[in-house]
Subunit: 372 residues, 2 copies
């Protein structure tokens, strides 16, 4: 194989596919990036794949000799970043002697046969769905905060994509909180022909999220086992989770006894200050949220280090509250909301509270209290 | 004690003194910042001190009740960073109940008696010396690269300040290389009345370096055991090293057989690329520097991962070279030089090479070759 391509394209493409390379698979061949040069289309395909999630992208290249090869992922990333701007030449001979050169720099090393490197699964695509990347990015950003990394509860490791009659809803639950983000159908995200539900691993969506962000469309193609996100120049494929997702709809119907309206950034800054008095190991300590009148929220925490108190202007409707919470569940949610004002509905000291927008239903963050 | 001061002043002052707080002393009291409020001058003094190096700074404050107190250093730093802009109130009562508050935030915690917190040593000041901060910063930046962290050779842990008839010279040696930076006397750094030599711990200079940088003056005050750097609003005190420094002058007299002139940033970028083919544990691997004609320098390295080659345009005078070096010694030096062109004098494959400016003697970096 022999190709010449611009350094900046190689660098960017390498950064993309490296996101799907994991050194934790126990399979050394997956520590490589797969390169495939096609002479007819004059393109270089790059692939990273850890068997759970894979990324493929293609760049323009002058292909002098078609072929496939593997390059150690980390080394390719380092070299692609540091080479001089300009053309990069990559060659690999039949003995796997590999040369990457640019300007007056040259790297020689041995690589290994490509035979065992897996292809991405082909998605038959009995279901496709299209939405704008930037909106999709925001939907993921909000729902992903409640994805659990506890592998013993697989359904908690994914985000449910619930395309129903009204909107697309992303939902994650970790047993103590629930995060929902929603987007109503419109001309850029047309209503689905038939409602569907998918459970997509949080890991794949975490990898995908920073690659989104333009106003271009992303197309989801789904079969029974896999989902493909196609961004045009790049595609990411992930297995689907087949575990049953919790029936969460009824949780959201509680009306609650108290509604407070609060400035999001003031609330967040106050909570972040209170975390300073807690050691990292204390981060499960309760914070006490308390209203004693209709215009202020008192927050208190007591840790080994000392006590912290915040007093935040709010407007309270309904009964006064005095409830303990895990502060991290609030800071996680408040950080992914853009609105300046939010409302929080409380359902007593045993029921969940729900953070919502002042109008509409773009997001809901449900948080269970801690028992005293 | 009770004071009120602006948050931004407290934040900046805390950042300064935290640089001298070490959690590795084994003495818990030194994990604190010492605060002292003086009613007459309406100032708050802050001090961090690990017994080797200490920093004191003063800020304007409204002192309602004079007194001293300790605050856990990390906690003070965190709180000072995160409080709302505006006034901060700090109080400590006779039972060491401490409150830090600003706006509607309040932190309560217990602190400890100040009695055991050490004062900075008084410097009798039989020798003083003044120079501009920005020039001093650059002098330290260049010499400090050759300070060794090997505690078994104390003289290698410091920088020699050699104020001689001609200039101020800073020198560090680690056994394999030597770094010298020099500044000639001028109106802003008048010639010393009497030449002196001091050996100042690299650790203190590393702490001091980022605090310099303005065009203001820094005054050194020295007695037999200690040195004080006075920056006006801040002073840093360090013990002196009393070990004998190596007689280095004769090392610099070798004329060498070869001089090459090279573009500093091209040389540095080439070496940084070559490091990519070396594992971190390989970083002592030799790079081979070789000239085969008068216009190019060939650099080669062979590691477990593979080989890398760079070809850099130079102009060679004298004999051709073929010598092995530790690449890190070159990259360290090239990173702290501002000039675009430098000259390197080589004294064969056994003698040291010296990196110098094209004109003048602002710096010299001497590097020993590796034996083949």
């Amino acid at each position: 194989m022999k190709i010449v391509c611009p350094k900046n394209l190689l660098h960017q493409a390498t950064n993309y596919v490296l996101r799907a390379v994991s050194s934790k698979t126990g399979n050394e061949i997956l520590d490589n990036v797969f390169l495939s040069a096609d002479k007819q289309s004059n393109t270089l395909l790059l692939r990273g794949y850890d068997l759970e999630c894979g990324i493929e992208t293609k760049i323009k290249a002058d292909v002098y000799e078609a072929g496939d090869m593997l390059v150690p992922a980390r080394l390719l990333g380092d070299i692609a970043a540091k080479l001089e701007e300009g053309d990069v030449t990559i060659t690999c001979d039949e003995n796997y002697k590999t040369v990457i050169s640019a300007g007056k720099s040259k790297f020689n090393f041995m690589t290994r046969p490509t035979a065992d490197f897996p292809s991405l699964p082909e998605i038959s695509g009995n279901l496709t769905f299209t939405l704008p990347q930037d909106r999709f990015q925001k939907l993921i950003k909000q729902a992903i905060i409640a994805v659990s990394t506890d592998l013993s509860r697989p359904a908690f490791n994914g985000i449910l994509f619930n395309a129903n009659e009204k909107n697309l809803e992303l939902v994650a639950i970790d047993g103590f909180r629930l995060a929902i983000s929603r987007h109503a159908y419109d001309e850029r995200m047309p209503k689905v022909e038939k409602p569907f539900r998918l459970l997509i691993p949080g890991k794949a969506l975490k990898i995908l999220q920073p690659l989104l962000g333009s106003e271009d469309l992303v197309t989801l193609k789904v079969d029974n086992k896999q989902v493909e996100f196609n961004l045009g120049s790049l595609k990411l494929v992930s297995r689907l989770l087949t575990n049953e997702f919790m029936k969460y709809e009824s949780l959201l119907n509680s009306n609650g006894d108290t509604t407070i309206v609060i400035n999001r950034s003031q609330f967040l800054a106050g909570l972040e200050r209170m975390l300073l008095i807690m050691n990292v190991s204390d981060r499960r300590l309760p914070i006490r949220l308390q209203t004693t009148d209709e215009s202020s929220l008192q927050i208190d925490v007591v840790s080994e280090k000392g006590q912290a108190h915040e007093d935040i202007a709010v407007s309270v409707q309904g009964q006064m509250i005095d409830i303990d919470y895990n502060p991290i569940y609030f800071t996680d949610a408040l950080r992914v909301i853009d609105d300046e004002l939010v409302q929080i509905n409380f359902a007593g000291s045993l029921g969940p509270c729900i953070i919502k927008p002042m109008t509409g239903d773009d997001y809901e963050f449900l948080i269970l209290p801690l028992r005293r």
